[in-house]
Symmetry: C2
Subunit: 239 residues, 2 copies
DNA sequence: TAGTGGTCTAGACCACCGT
DNA sequence: CGGTGGTCTAGACCACTAT
């Protein structure tokens, strides 16, 4: 309803791809045909098609047409910003969140640098373990600038902080820079995770920005080696 | 020269950001001002700005303007499809490639599935170790459909296969799906890498597609834990 | 209210691919 | 050659932000 025209066309085409009306390997109708079918302008059609292309559902080829790809049906999101709650729902396995800490703290040096805050600011520090099928395999350490999040409770942390921020506070998360590396386990990891003898964890560092480009959150997500998986979809630029 | 208008505007704005003419935190000129400055239409300006935004250099905010971000200066590429040669040049450390294998083989079951080929096809199998500062820390296993790559030599493998494919054969790599996980070391890893006691490796699986959407290459890149690093830049979709 | 970015249109020309 | 997608234009209206 309140949807943009190009978004509704995107969603319509996407559902037709997912339902097999447009099968992989086949060509989509040409842009001019789609202009006719949807009764809109070509640029609007092209916006919808470009979205499909960016998300890996089709490949556009000059002079030929738009081919439906067989990638795009990922279990995991494409280059994903996804919350644990969304993920847990997707994999459909019993899971829960254990909150170990949820406090306002003064930032130390490392945090000041990561969050771009000063000693005068206060910062929410949240430590949670994610348990899947009875094993705590992910340790999430979240730090929020208090300026953006006035209050926070353990109950919220057990559910989904993202949902609370977006739906209750109206905060719009915009994008994130993500760094992945493998680090040695810390004492904290050993204390809060079921490490089963693993000496290293995969560390995903997230720098989360708001719609207005201010740095809002720093997150460390520490995964047990054997349970880590990440899917990315990269387009090579011919610049 | 043969460059598109929006690309040359993109590159011009980008160099001004990198040279500090547009500093981070500052606003870019408005779209209408840029229309004047570059003597072009607004949609063309918007294409250039959207590229900057997608690459993490600016953040566009409705009603306000385009803000220059301080991310965007990554050592590593943004959600990267990058060759080892490009990478080695970037980090500027002594490096070389050791070719252990470069043969035409019949695909086994696993490979048939990964590359979408049949027993009738032949496949190039290339095994290379990447040495940085005297240590072999990455093991690259590449498989190409012979249909696309008629010939291949050890010399080419020691240099850059990508350069050979793109410049000599005119093959255009278009996009890749990437999966990252951590696996136990195989005998092959122990044989070809300097593992320094590590029992696991980070495995990056790449499925590489051509411009015409055909699956072309399957690559496994196996990294020693302590030397692995990956940077990604994800935009949250408000669909 | 004036200025910003977001969407949309109707037309144009081009480079590329097939026949 | 006709059809395809890629670029570009000049205009319009809208939603949002500032003052």
């Amino acid at each position: 309803m309140g949807e943009n025209k190009y978004l509704s066309i995107y969603n319509d085409l996407l559902s037709k791809i997912k339902n097999g009306i447009f099968q992989s390997g086949m060509k989509l109708p040409s842009e001019n045909q789609l202009v006719e079918q949807y009764g809109t302008s070509r640029e609007t059609i092209r916006k919808a098609l470009n979205l499909l292309s960016e998300h890996g559902y089709i490949q556009k080829i000059k002079g030929k047409g738009s081919i439906v790809l067989d990638v795009g049906k990922f279990d995991f999101p494409v280059s994903g910003l996804i919350s644990f709650k969304e993920l847990a729902q997707k994999i459909g396995k019993p899971s829960r969140t254990i909150v170990y800490e949820c406090d306002l703290v003064k930032p130390d040096e490392k945090l000041k640098k990561h969050l771009h805050v000063t000693s005068k600011d206060e910062v929410w520090k949240v430590i949670r373990a994610r348990e899947i099928e009875g094993e705590r395999i992910i340790l999430d350490k979240d730090f929020f600038n208090k300026q953006f999040v006035p209050s926070l409770t353990r109950e919220i942390c057990e559910d989904s902080i993202y949902e609370y921020l977006e739906e209750e506070l109206g905060i719009k998360i915009s994008f994130a820079k993500k760094e992945i590396s493998v680090d040695e386990c810390t004492e904290e990891d050993k204390k809060y995770l079921d490490l089963k003898g693993y000496t290293h964890v995969v560390v995903v560092r997230n720098y989360v920005y708001l719609d207005d480009a201010s740095l809002f959150q720093y997150t460390e997500s520490r995964h047990r080696l054997d349970k880590f998986r990440f899917v990315d979809f990269a387009r090579r630029e011919h610049l």
